[in-house]
């Protein structure tokens, strides 16, 4: 069991009800994607699971514990086992790539090791290995402000992989990547989760990517779960209903805002040259 939400709700300080009545159970090593129109509460859900926000109601169980009933030390230990990939990586621009990656393990390293690592990087080989999986090994010693937005987003993913968490949370992890790179980067995340038996829970804007890489899809709208099904059972009607508020627009990789012309045929472009039939990639 990785996490279990029972009737969880979240009301922001300004009175906005971002989530309510969410009940979700995701098992160990499971992979699930959450999709939905913008403003549906995807980011709030991810931040709730990453213990950055505290639920205002309901029961939350993360990796076997309720994080908000733990003493500070236990909560900290729990947090080292959860890695969050942010949509725009929260990395100070002047940091070097290697420092940004090594920062992923600061939670488990003793403080002296973290500080010494600023003088001389503590684990060059490890950082390089994880960066190589994203085609960025040659940028290891560059400064982050010299990277493009897409490269920086991949560094953000690499940091979380370097952290080796039991629960990987990803909030729009590939939004700044072109379709081919996005596909490859998600593939890396999926293979990491398979290899280390880590849970992968991602919010994705591009529906086609979600359907291709995740066996379980959770539709979120207006802070509530609309459906929670194995990918094979998610129908195109469900999808267009989910995005009804955006005029039935189904966002995909190649065409994030294009309307679905013919839900029955449902061919979507992934990248300019390869056209993938939606059904062919379902569930992988």
């Amino acid at each position: 069991m990785s996490f279990d939400l029972k009737q969880v709700g979240l009301t922001h300080g300004n009175g906005f009800r971002a989530l309510h009545g969410i009940s979700l159970r995701v098992g160990r090593a499971e992979r699930a994607a959450v999709i939905g129109p913008s403003g549906a509460g995807k980011t709030s859900l991810i931040r709730l699971l990453g213990t950055a926000l505290r639920p205002s109601e309901g029961r939350l169980d993360l990796l076997g514990d309720n994080p908000w009933q733990q003493p500070a030390g236990k909560l900290r230990a729990l947090r080292t086992r959860i890695g969050t990939i942010h949509q725009s990586p929260p990395i100070p621009p002047r940091l070097r790539v290697i420092t940004a990656i090594l920062a992923g393990r600061l939670g488990v390293w003793p403080a002296w090791r973290g500080l010494l690592s600023l003088l001389y990087p503590a684990d060059i080989a490890g950082a390089e290995a994880v960066l190589a999986r994203f085609d960025l090994a040659d940028r290891l010693f560059d400064r982050c402000d010299r990277l493009s937005g897409g490269q920086l987003q991949r560094v953000g993913i690499a940091r979380v992989l370097y952290q080796q968490p039991d629960l990987i949370l990803a909030d729009e992890p590939v939004s700044a990547l072109d379709p081919a790179l996005a596909d490859a980067a998600l593939g890396e995340l999926v293979s990491e989760s398979e290899r280390r038996q880590a849970t992968l829970f991602a919010s994705l804007h591009a529906v086609d990517l979600a359907l291709k890489w995740f066996p379980r899809i959770i539709g979120l709208r207006a802070g509530e779960v609309v459906f929670d099904l194995p990918t094979a059972r998610v129908s195109d009607t469900m999808l267009s209903e989910l995005y009804a508020a955006e005029g039935g627009v189904l966002p995909t990789q190649a065409n994030p805002r294009a309307p679905v012309r013919d839900p029955g045929e449902a061919r979507m472009d992934i990248g300019p040259q390869k056209i993938v039939k939606l059904d062919a990639c379902r569930g992988r």
């Binding site: 080989a125 290891l140 790179l181 980067a185």
Partner: protein
């Protein structure tokens, strides 16, 4: 990633390329820092030296209670008023220096630059000389001027007023020149082109735009002058500083404590007055 190019097995890649430079800079810093520490006679332990501790201890013990006898309070009031008067008079004299010099130096009021017309080189030379004079006036800190004036004029506020006038004259002159040039200079230019005299062009073309900023800066400088006039007292230029210097030399902690308190109050008051005035102007 699947399409990853083969990772180069170059061993150099596994070494931080910045490490050598960092080590070098660290060594340079150490090599430079050591003589600096020696020169500054950096010996923190002397703070805990028995005799120093005794001096400081008895001095600080004297802080409580601060001295509040009527006689001393009278002196204190006189010194405080003197400090304020030095600052105000100093700024007034500084204005006498700064205003003509800034009118001389600002390019916004140059007739010869129009065209350029006759007398261009002479005008440029005059402006350069004016700027050089302003630089010289503010290059030497006011307390150095005060120290030297005390030698000629004797102890007392006159040295402080003159020192403030010189240094602050230079500072105000420079900043006034910059303010006059940074506002919209077209009105003044059009007046000059129509043959109006320079002072008229200043009054009708530049001042309406710049007056607020000029006044605001002057008030700010007055606030600084209050602080400076306290400090100049330490070399004998009158006011609170001179009183404090005497109390410190006699190791009279009670008096020093009272003066310090008054000084802090005065600085806070000048700060508040200055910011209220400037806000009223904005």
């Amino acid at each position: 990633m699947s399409v990853a190019s083969a990772t180069p097995s170059d061993p150099l890649l596994h070494r931080d390329p910045a490490a050598r430079a960092r080590l070098g800079w660290a060594l340079v810093a150490l090599v430079l820092l050591w003589p600096l520490l020696v020169l500054a006679e950096f010996r923190p332990w002397v703070l805990f030296d028995a005799s120093n501790l005794r001096v400081m201890g008895s001095f600080l013990a004297g802080f409580l209670p601060p001295k509040t006898s009527m006689e001393f309070m009278g002196y204190l009031l006189k010194a405080t008023l003197e400090t304020l008067a030095i600052a105000t008079a100093g700024i007034a004299l500084a204005l006498l220096l700064a205003v003509p010099l800034s009118i001389l130096c600002t390019r916004a009021l140059s007739v010869s630059l129009i065209g350029p017309g006759p007398g261009l080189h002479g005008g440029n030379a005059l402006r350069a000389a004016g700027r050089a004079l302003l630089t010289f006036l503010r290059a030497i800190p006011e307390i150095v001027w005060a120290l030297m004036f005390v030698r000629v004029l004797g102890l007392g506020p006159a040295a402080g007023v003159l020192a403030l006038a010189i240094t602050y004259g230079g500072m105000l002159g420079k900043v006034y020149t910059e303010i006059l040039e940074s506002t919209d200079t077209r009105p003044a230019r059009s007046l000059l082109e129509a043959g109006s005299p320079r002072l008229a062009a200043l009054a009708y073309g530049l001042l309406p735009n710049a007056a607020q900023e000029l006044t605001s800066y002057t008030v700010y400088r007055w606030e600084c002058a209050v602080r400076a006039s306290v400090i100049m007292g330490f070399v004998g230029a009158g006011g609170l500083g001179q009183l404090m210097d005497q109390s410190m030399k006699m190791l009279n902690g009670g008096e020093a404590a009272t003066i310090l308190l008054v000084f802090l109050l005065l600085v806070l008051l000048a700060d508040a007055l200055s910011s209220t005035l400037r806000r009223a102007l904005a």
